[in-house]
Subunit: 262 residues, 2 copies
């Protein structure tokens, strides 16, 4: 699994401060820490960005690309900010993302065709709600795929996110079992390989951080891996979860494995 | 997954000492520690036991059953010791186990019919070797199933062990991917549900214990769970592995889940 850092968020004080001051240097240490945790991609979760969204996104993408060469996920629901981000980026970017919500189909999805880049499609219905069962999710995946074809987005640019549910939800576990099933069965349903991504932090949203939370993350990360997940979005500072995710790769990949002797 | 302790082994000094002295009281603390780690079954790995095997097994089963009510796996390749163990046990036992090796088919398997108990069937060929690929393993599972039918062992008494390989083996990871596939596809191949068990400690055999070893155990335990494993044999004192295995159950079972507030 490709590990994607979810640590860069607009709510983080350093990110807010850099944006407010216009000083990109403030981001140096934060971005380097995320990179040093061995992330292979970084999600720029900027939110809608409000007034001056395009300029703000331009500032953030330029600032981050000046520090790291990691591919970036441009994570905003604001089409203007999204266009600014993908337009200014010099390196590889992924649009994060669209769903069957009309605004996103009309204003986000076409950017993937225009800029010829990957785009994440969420298994959310036209009202932005995640369906409970695996069958409804698989039906939505087919709809997202059709929307890509209609928008002339290349089939191989679509990355499906089946939407992990918080375990605090009464039916959270059932939903997360459905997520595993969706990942396992998507290639068969679509009739071709398709990349998948899951956001692990959703799982423990609202829960006090604890050993139990870490164990739940570790367990679910490995079950996602066993189900065939391609990209895992997570807090790269959760050391044990990262270690377990890497261990899954050691099992599932063809790379040479050795026990560390250090 | 039912967690089965693999901690009770004839090589352990306490077990050797209790057996040599004939004092069952020496086992009290050790067995209670295993039970307190929240094992749901305990493997009595006695080895062949040599001279006086039947008496020794009788002593051990009586001693352990005096301390705990956990179901016991009688783990020996010695048919006399196996008969003594299953014969003397008052509680639930599982025979561990048989394979396509002629001696085991002839002398161990019939005990499962005679005493009407569960028996573990290892996916090992007639020479006791584990085949590398999933297809050969599945073919062996069909052979084990036929052997049960021939020996009049009830179909539901068979528990399949696809034999986890040490990661130190050059093809260890390929073999362990095959194990996951076998667990996932067995019900389809046999045409009915069948219980499965895996011994997790095999994975890290020969490796120095380390954080990496623990992460590999955690990762593989969760991948086994995601593949549908029923029983996991492991070192119950590997706290993090046990926590992750329990977390998998929290995802996969229908039991009520709550975040611990302690």
């Amino acid at each position: 699994m490709i590990l994607v850092a979810d640590n860069f968020q607009i709510t983080h004080p350093i990110v807010r401060s850099a944006l407010a001051s216009g000083d990109p240097g403030q981001l140096n240490e934060w971005v380097r820490r995320i990179e040093a945790a061995d992330a292979r991609m970084m999600d720029l979760n900027t939110g809608p960005l409000g007034k001056g969204a395009a300029q703000k996104m331009t500032f953030l993408v330029r600032a981050v690309e000046a520090i790291t060469e990691l591919p970036l996920l441009i994570d905003t629901a604001n089409p203007e900010a999204m266009r600014a981000g993908v337009g200014v980026a010099r390196g590889k970017v992924i649009l994060n993302g669209f769903s069957m919500e009309p605004d996103k189909l009309e204003r986000i999805l076409p950017l993937a065709a225009e800029y010829d880049v990957d785009i994440i499609g969420y298994l959310l219905d036209a009202k932005g709600r995640p369906p409970a069962g695996a069958d409804e999710r698989l039906a939505l995946a087919v709809e997202l795929h059709r929307a890509c074809v209609a928008a002339e987005v290349k089939q191989e640019h679509l990355i499906i996110d089946p939407v992990v549910a918080p375990l605090l939800w009464e039916d959270g576990r059932e939903r997360n079992r459905a997520v595993l099933e969706v990942i396992r069965t998507l290639p068969e349903v679509l009739g071709h390989a398709v990349r998948t991504i899951s956001g692990l932090s959703n799982l423990t949203a609202g829960a006090r951080f604890s050993d139990q939370q870490m164990s739940m993350e570790c367990a679910y990360a490995a079950m996602l891996a066993a189900s065939g997940l391609d990209m895992l979005l997570l807090n790269m500072f959760h050391t044990e979860t990262v270690r377990v995710a890497r261990a899954c790769d050691a099992f599932l990949s063809e790379k040479v494995f050795t026990w560390q002797t250090a």
